[in-house]
C-alpha cells in the first residue's frame, strides 16, 4: 500500500485498529465527488469553491492516511487560501490531478 502513497498501518491505527472499516472507507473514497467539485471549480476559475473543496479533501486524505495526496493538498490549500498565490496554485494543480488519478486507478485495480 505504501507504493501508492498510502500509509496503511497508520490508517488502521487511526481507525482504532479496525482494519475492516478503514478499508471500507479507502474504497468508498472512489465514490467521493469532492475531487470532481475541485476539478470543475479549477476549470471555471472559481477559486473560492476550489479552496473549500481542496480543504475538505485535505481533511479526508489526511484521515485516510493517503499521505502523498495529503501533503500535496496541504501546500495547495495554502496557495488558494484568500487567493494568496493563484498562479502557483494553477501551475501546481496538474500534479495533484495526476496523484489523484494514480491513487484512484490503483485503488480500483485492487
Amino acid at each position: 500500500m505504501l507504493t501508492i502513497g498510502i500509509d496503511y498501518n497508520e490508517g488502521v491505527k487511526r481507525f482504532s485498529g479496525n482494519a475492516a472499516i478503514y478499508e471500507k472507507f479507502l474504497f468508498k473514497f472512489l465514490d467521493d465527488m469532492t475531487f470532481e467539485e475541485l476539478d470543475e471549480a479549477m476549470q471555471n476559475h472559481d477559486y473560492g469553491t476550489a479552496f473549500f473543496a481542496a480543504h475538505t479533501l485535505k481533511g479526508v486524505t489526511g484521515n485516510l492516511s493517503m499521505n502523498r495526496l495529503y501533503q500535496e493538498l496541504v501546500a495547495f490549500v495554502e496557495m488558494l487560501r484568500n487567493s494568496t498565490d493563484l498562479e502557483s496554485a494553477i501551475a501546481y494543480y496538474p500534479k495533484i490531478k495526476k496523484t489523484h488519478l494514480d491513487l484512484v486507478s490503483q485503488l480500483k485495480s485492487m
Partner: protein, 366 residues
C-alpha cells in the same frame, strides 16, 4: 455508570466514523452532517450533551455560525465545544477562541490526542457545572432564610407595637391621657427625630432608630400608672411633697419597661427606658430625676421632651386655656418650659410646619 453523550458533527462521513471509532467505547456518539442538523440536536439534547465536536466547514450554516448561536443562547457556559479542522493557523484558533470554542481537534485525527482533549473538556465542565449548581442552591437557601428572618423581624416589630399600644391604652383607660395625646406625641417625636437625623449626624440616628423613637415615645408617661389618683388627678397646685411623688413617674416608668424583658430587640428596650426616665431632664441640669446636663441626656429623651412640652402647651388643662402653636413655639424658644439644647431648638424651628399639620389633624375636639 451510563456513558456520556457527545455530539460529533462533520459533513464528511469518514471523519465522523473515525471519531466514532475512537470514542465509542467511552461515549455515546450522536452525529450531525450539517449546521442545521447540529443546532437541532443541540436543542433536543441540550441538557444531556457532555460535549460537541464541531466541524468548521459544513453546508447549511458553518461551525462558526453554530458557535455564535450557542453563545447567544448561553449554551457555551454549560457545554464545551471542540472545533474540528484541518487548519492549524494561529488566525483560525484565535477566531475559534473568540467565538467561544473550548479547544481544537485537528485532521488528520490522532486517537490519543482526541481522547485526552475531549476527556479534559468534559471533566472541567462537569466540575464547573457542579459548582454552579451548588452555588445556586446555596444562594436559593440563603434567600429563603433572609425572607424568613425578615418575616420574623416584622412579627417582632408588630409585637413591640402591640405592647406599646396596650400600655398606652392602659393610661387612656384610667383617663390619664387621651388617645389623641398619645398619637400626637408619636407624630411630633417622629417628625423631630427625622429632622435631627438629617441635621445632626453626631447623634448617629438611623431610619430604624428614628422609627423606634417614634414608637417608644408613646410610653413616656407610662409610669403615671403608679402615681396615686389623689396626686395625679388633683385639680389644684401640688404641694412640694406631692410634686416629689409626681416626679417618680419617670423612674416608675423605667422599671415597668425593664420588667418587659420579653420585648425583643435591644433598641426598643433601651430607647423606651431612656424616654421614660429622662423626658423631664433639662439641658441646663435643672430637670429631674437625675439632673443630667447637655448631651448626657439621651437624644431620644431630648426629642420626646420637646414634643411633650409642645403638646402640653397647645392642649387645654383644667387650669389653663390652650396656647396657639406659634405661642407654644416662642415659649419653648424663650426657655419658658425649661432649657433645651440649641440643636433641639433649631430642629424644632425646621419641623414647625410639620408640627402645625400634626396639630391641625389631631387636635382635641372639645
Amino acid at each position: 455508570m451510563e456513558k456520556k453523550i457527545v455530539l460529533v458533527t462533520d459533513d464528511v462521513e469518514v471523519n465522523r466514523v473515525i471519531l466514532r471509532e475512537i470514542l465509542k467505547d467511552e461515549y455515546n456518539i450522536l452525529e450531525a452532517a450539517d449546521g442545521l442538523e447540529t443546532m437541532q440536536i443541540i436543542h433536543e439534547k441540550e441538557d444531556m450533551l457532555s460535549a460537541v465536536l464541531l466541524d468548521v466547514i459544513m453546508p447549511n450554516m458553518d461551525g462558526f455560525a453554530v458557535l455564535e448561536h450557542m453563545g447567544e443562547e448561553k449554551l457555551l457556559d454549560r457545554v464545551p465545544v471542540l472545533l474540528i479542522s484541518a487548519d492549524r493557523s494561529v488566525e483560525f484558533e484565535r477566531d475559534g477562541y473568540q467565538k467561544g470554542a473550548f479547544d481544537f481537534i485537528h485532521k488528520p485525527f490522532d486517537g490519543l490526542i482526541v481522547k485526552v482533549r475531549l476527556k479534559r473538556a468534559v471533566e472541567l465542565y462537569e466540575n464547573k457545572n457542579h459548582l454552579n449548581e451548588v452555588v445556586s442552591k446555596q444562594t436559593e437557601l440563603l434567600q429563603k432564610q433572609i425572607l424568613q428572618l425578615k418575616s420574623q423581624e416584622k412579627q417582632l416589630r408588630e409585637m413591640n407595637s402591640n405592647i406599646i399600644d396596650v400600655m398606652s391604652s392602659v393610661l387612656e383607660f384610667r383617663n390619664l391621657e387621651s388617645r389623641l395625646h398619645v398619637k400626637r406625641i408619636r407624630k411630633y417625636s417622629l417628625a423631630l427625630a427625622k429632622m435631627v437625623m438629617q441635621n445632626d449626624s453626631e447623634y448617629h440616628l438611623t431610619p430604624e432608630k428614628v422609627e423606634c423613637i417614634g414608637e417608644a415615645s408613646a410610653l413616656h408617661d407610662v409610669g403615671k400608672i403608679g402615681i396615686p389618683d389623689s396626686v395625679l388627678l388633683k385639680p389644684g397646685k401640688l404641694t412640694p411633697e406631692e410634686f416629689e411623688i409626681m416626679k417618680t413617674h419617670t423612674t416608675k416608668g423605667a422599671s415597668i419597661i425593664n420588667q418587659l424583658e420579653w420585648i425583643e430587640g435591644e433598641d426598643i428596650h433601651q430607647v423606651s427606658t431612656d424616654i421614660c426616665l429622662y423626658h423631664h431632664e433639662k439641658y441646663d441640669g435643672k430637670g429631674y430625676p437625675m439632673g443630667l446636663k447637655g448631651d448626657e441626656i439621651p437624644i431620644a429623651a431630648q426629642i420626646v421632651s420637646v414634643a411633650d412640652c409642645f403638646d402640653a402647651l397647645t392642649s387645654a388643662r383644667c387650669y389653663k386655656e390652650p396656647y396657639s402653636t406659634d405661642e407654644a413655639y416662642s415659649m419653648i424658644q424663650k426657655g419658658q418650659c425649661g432649657a433645651f439644647s440649641p440643636q433641639m431648638l433649631k430642629c424644632l424651628t425646621l419641623t414647625m410646619p410639620e408640627f402645625k399639620r400634626i396639630y391641625e389633624q389631631y387636635v382635641d375636639k372639645l
